[in-house]
Point group: C2
Chain length 354, copies 2
């Protein structure tokens, strides 16, 4: 795999497959790991960080799960490429800075990712399309074991895995989903629901992690606690809550169909009509309109034959600024981006089966 | 011709034909005439008005130009039908009241119309598609002569034709055009221009005559003065001013193309995308979006092959409330009207050549 290959493919997590794919875009398991006797990245010196890089690279080379993976030193690629990786959810916003000897390992179909020298030495993430925590957990355990064979993880029998931030200490596990909740958002029950979710020890964030807004009715929900429970318990807990939220969303959809089918159909078809014809469009408006179409698909107002969920999921990713510029093979002004974005959307939506 | 035939046809003035059809929807010549020795309608008694009706009906029956015309007593048709006629510009808002023994005569292709017992005993109007005052004047003279043979017009050698309102006395002629000036409206020069037009003795009104707003950048421009000049002079004057306005609009279009082609193309295609997909739409929004598409046609952003001007002109008329209800063959709630309007627009725009 080469870096440029990423431009012309999309991750498994965007395929619209897996359980409850209508509501849950993706499930992600993240494990925070550090190498013993090397300071956490924030306090590490250049030599320490370089050592982490080479140790991880070696361990990855020996891991069967990472055989066909791509190892990218983030300080050796341009900012645009780092932004491109962040837009794909392969690295964090923090990693886009490209300083401090950071790297990322990207596995086949972008299911496995390992951020190196982020907040912790290793941040292993597994993302799957749909609500698929068990599948993601299985793979994460496997990769964790494979890497652990060749890396001495910082581990305390009392505390568990040691991490830079104490909130991650213990299992080092964060399980999260990216959900699309347009009907709940319409019903205005969303805030009440999200408050309840927070009380259950889960955190709710927007599309791009902490501090970002819930654009287009997309929400990231993750566990807050890593300590005092087994990984399986943590996963069971969030899985149960997510299934509950899915049920609320499905009920909210029924209410939308009962109470305002015509108005909603109108909104959905207008969104489709605009996107099929648009010549200039901002990222923000794109997300809003795609979200409306996704609602239309979920409500059966438009059929998957007309626009499939995979295409909508992909459009969310490829219409972002760095993606547009990578596809356009040059830096684009905001106006040129709005033009390119519109062109890509039109092209994608012009062919129902394309 | 039967009344119901009107529903399935559209007047000649909507065909998008004639000179400068891009800017001038239609040209209209109106002549105000009264029958001598009968009080003007406002002061006339029932018997007087009935007498006018029968005199005019007889005269019309003898007029070759009105041979295939339809004579409709407005007090004998439902309000919805009167509203339908007003939406087609065949009768005035005043005539929709249906009281006071009013009638209308509608000629073939809706080119000739005669309102009876409106403000004057007769209001003869000739409407043509495009800037075609001379053609309209020729026909109006002919019909006027034909009717005048069998009616004693109130005429003073000093004042000319006598009318209920002194502003019409003299020639009784009003020449008006319905213009679409979207580029001038965008350039914001429109107000300055319209003020200049007013100083030239012309009146500017909205889509439905006096007191109505200039919705969708449509403007009616007409002469204010009927007295002290010949009909030919009055027509020459307005024709010259209209040609000047057309030139300003064409220049404004060039500026739009130079300065904001992308933004305008985006607006035009969005308007088309919305209208092709809409499920609920108000009359007001329809006019705005159709106006934008008409601008797109004029600028060459979309081609006549995709949507022709005739179709856009017709949609303006048939998406009005009374038309929707006549087509739907029943009274519709506002919500049902918005649905029906959307359905008709989608149907019309689905087939480029239909």
């Amino acid at each position: 795999m080469k870096f440029e290959d990423l431009i012309h493919q999309s991750g498994q997590w965007l395929q619209g497959e897996g359980s409850y794919g209508e509501v849950v875009i993706s499930s992600r398991i993240r494990l925070a790991r550090n190498i013993t006797k090397i300071p956490f990245p924030q306090w590490a010196k250049k030599d320490d960080r370089e050592k982490v890089l080479s140790l991880v690279q070696e361990a990855a080379a020996k891991s069967p799960s990472l055989k066909k993976s791509l190892f990218i030193r983030l300080d050796q690629i341009p900012l645009l490429d780092r932004q491109f990786l962040a837009e794909r959810h392969l690295i964090s916003q923090e990693q886009t800075r490209g300083d401090k000897d950071r790297a990322v390992i990207i596995g086949e179909k972008e299911i496995i990712g390992v951020m190196v020298n982020e907040e912790d030495h290793l941040r292993l993430q597994i993302i799957f399309s749909g609500l698929e925590f068990h599948q993601a957990w299985e793979i994460s355990t496997k990769v964790d074991d494979e890497l652990g064979k060749n890396l001495n993880y910082a581990f305390s029998s009392k505390w568990g895995y040691l991490t830079a931030c104490p909130t991650n200490t213990g299992t080092g596990l964060r399980a999260s989903v990216l959900m699309h909740l347009p009907a709940l958002a319409l019903s205005r029950d969303i805030n009440r629901l999200l408050q309840a979710v927070a009380k259950l020890g889960l955190a709710v964030r927007g599309l791009y992690g902490e501090g970002t807004q819930a654009t287009g009715n997309y929400f990231q929900i993750s566990n807050q606690i890593c300590l005092g429970r087994t990984e399986e318990e943590l996963i069971e807990n969030i899985d149960r809550v997510i299934k509950q939220i899915i049920e609320y969303e499905q009920n909210a959809k029924k209410i939308v169909l009962d109470k305002s089918k015509s108005e909603t159909a109108d909104k959905v078809f207008r969104a489709l009509g605009i996107l099929k014809n648009v010549r200039l469009i901002s990222s923000q408006e794109t997300i809003g309109l795609l979200s409306t179409i996704r609602l239309g698909l979920a409500l059966g107002i438009i059929s998957e034959k007309e626009v499939d969920r995979k295409k909508i999921n992909e459009l969310f990713i490829i219409t972002q600024p760095a993606h547009l510029q990578k596809m356009g093979k040059k830096a684009l002004t905001p106006m040129e981006r709005d033009e390119k974005r519109a062109a890509i959307i039109r092209e994608k939506l012009a062919h129902p089966y394309g």
